[in-house]
């Protein structure tokens, strides 16, 4: 098994603040790997270390078989990077900016830029400072993808993109994977990476809380459920549901339409079967924000340690 990215005890401290705390990560060549975590978890710090924009306090990283510092400019030519905070300024057109990056990180196949711009619906003749946030993000994606690098490092790639463009982005990631490229991307929402990534690591306070394949992570995720029921008594419903061990934070209102809310850990199968006898007028299942999911995972790990 070869790894496109491998970090061992990678640590970055800024003064007294530890942005990344002994991160061990292995990203298989040709895979799509997602890093998720709340803001400030260390995702951006990890990516900047891989690009040699900042230097580690301790530990080591290997990117495409080389250390980021020793690999230097030659290594970075083989990486496409989308920064989390993409600040594009200047009185130049998108096309001229891309030509500039192509000069330093190329070669870019002919027509490649136009093809990507067309897919994402971006007008390359406009000055970059006039572009909206979403359009700047598209320009950022193009400069990362255009030279078909062996490794793509994308910090919050879908931020600012509308759902249609998010779909297009996912398609671009799949195509990159088909060509043998490795994709390392970050998000603060599990739902954003679940369609793209094979493997996921959850980062919190600079540490990898958990890592694994998407399916097992989703199975352990906590979801919030909303059920609206008519023609039943609140007590009856409460009795039927309180027996479910996966259900927490149960609340049942009274009235014509009885609103039931709660959280479900793991599969929702048992809940669906438990409400089946009632007249259900609405059922919604929402993934909780990652912060809560991660706290849940974190707590679970702490329990296992005991």
């Amino acid at each position: 098994m070869t790894y496109a990215i491998e970090t061992i005890g990678l640590t970055k401290r800024f003064g007294h603040h530890t942005a990344l705390n002994s991160m061990d990560l292995a990203v298989e060549t040709g895979s799509v790997f997602g890093v998720i975590g709340p803001n400030g978890a260390g995702k951006t710090t990890a990516m900047r270390l891989l690009l040699d924009i900042i230097r580690p306090t301790a530990g080591s990283a290997t990117v495409l078989g080389r250390s980021p510092i020793a690999g230097g400019a030659a290594l970075r030519k083989e990486i496409g990077f989308l920064p989390g905070e993409l600040l594009l300024t200047g009185r130049v057109s998108g096309r001229s900016l891309l030509r500039h990056y192509a000069e330093i990180s190329g070669p870019v196949p002919p027509q490649r830029v136009d093809e990507l711009a067309e897919r994402l619906g971006l007008d390359l003749s406009r000055h970059v400072r006039q572009l909206s946030k979403g359009n700047k993000q598209k320009l950022g994606l193009i400069q990362a993808f255009m030279h078909e690098p062996r490794l793509l490092v994308l910090d919050e790639p879908t931020s600012g993109l509308d759902p249609l463009m998010q779909q297009e982005f996912l398609q671009m990631v799949r195509e990159a994977q088909h060509k043998g490229q490795t994709v390392f991307l970050s998000s603060h929402m599990l739902s954003e990476v679940q369609h793209a990534a094979d493997q996921v690591a959850v980062l919190r306070n600079g540490r990898v809380v958990t890592a694994g394949d998407i399916a097992s992570l989703r199975a352990s995720a906590v979801r919030r459920v909303y059920v609206d029921i008519t023609d039943a008594s609140a007590d009856h419903i409460r009795t039927a549901l309180s027996a479910l061990p996966q259900l927490g934070d149960l609340s049942v209102t009274t009235g014509d339409i009885i609103q039931v809310t709660g959280t479900v850990e793991g599969h929702i199968d048992a809940l669906v079967k438990a409400i089946a006898p009632f007249h259900v007028v609405d059922l919604r299942v929402e993934e909780q924000d990652l912060e809560s999911s991660v706290i849940d995972l974190y707590a679970a790990e702490a329990r296992n340690d005991k």
Binding site: R76, L86, Y101, E103
Partner: protein
């Protein structure tokens, strides 16, 4: 060949030509306004020297006005030592602080460095862009002075115009090198500006203080301004030793700046 020749310098120049045009006009205006006034204002027969003689000596020496009656003295006192020096200091301060620290504060440096560019290459190409712009405004200035040499009656030896321009360019490059180096080391535009303007201003002040009396004349030894102009390059020709010192220190500052730039975290 995947990368082309000096991509960062070319991009920087392409992005700054409008500003450079304005600066060129500024230098040209200063020269075309001041130099033609020489014959009516400060020539042997205009009697201006007697006015200069009447103002306090300390003030005259601070402003470098002791020797206005020769063409070389006039151009030195008005353009090279005063307006031109002020303009090139401002230009060097703005350009050098914008080059690396400005890009870093604007957020574009992170993406540039994530591409196939080394820190050293970025330092060299950014510095080259600033130095080329300084050379351009000084070349235009030198040619304008040469063009007005006969008609205005300043009658400076053409080779000495080159010597004077190289001296002023040296002060500009020195100022810019400190701005570039401090910007590269700190990533702060304000620090870079302070360093670039500070080195010019300190040289000027040390020179003026050194002019005041023989007791403090030793201050001249510390003043790049005095190294550049103390030997009256427009009258007596370039002082190659002094020029070597000025350009040498500028190069050293860039090397030191690049050394630390290569070792620090960017955009944090």
């Amino acid at each position: 060949m995947t990368s082309s020749f000096l991509p960062l310098t070319r991009r920087s120049l392409a992005g700054s030509w409008r500003g450079l045009l304005g600066w060129t006009a500024g230098f040209a205006a200063a020269i075309t306004l001041y130099i033609p006034l020489y014959s009516s204002f400060a020539g042997d027969d205009a009697g201006f020297q007697s006015v200069i003689d009447s103002i306090p000596e300390a003030l005259a020496s601070t402003l470098g006005f002791e020797n206005l009656s020769s063409g070389a003295g006039y151009v030195q006192a008005t353009f090279l030592g005063l307006i031109g020096f002020a303009l090139i200091t401002i230009a060097a301060t703005l350009w050098s602080s914008a080059a690396i620290a400005g890009e870093e504060e604007a957020g574009s440096l992170e993406l540039t460095l994530a591409h196939g560019v080394s820190r050293v290459q970025l330092m060299i190409e950014s510095s080259l862009s600033v130095v080329l712009r300084l050379i351009w405004v000084m070349a235009v200035s030198g040619l304008l002075i040469l063009g007005l040499n006969e008609s205005s009656g300043i009658e400076i030896e053409p080779v000495n115009i080159l010597g004077g321009i190289l001296a002023l360019l040296g002060l500009g490059v020195l100022s810019a090198s400190f701005g570039l180096a401090v910007g590269a080391m700190s990533g702060r535009r304000s620090y870079a500006s302070a360093a670039a303007a500070g080195v010019s201003l300190a040289g000027y002040v040390l020179n003026s203080l050194g002019n005041q009396s023989a007791d403090v004349e030793w201050l001249h030894n510390l003043s790049p301004y005095h190294w550049a102009f103390g030997n009256s390059p427009l009258r007596d020709g370039a002082d190659w030793g002094a020029l070597g010192l000025i350009y040498g220190i500028a190069a050293l500052a860039l090397v030191v700046g690049g050394f630390f730039f290569n070792r620090r975290d960017v955009a944090v």
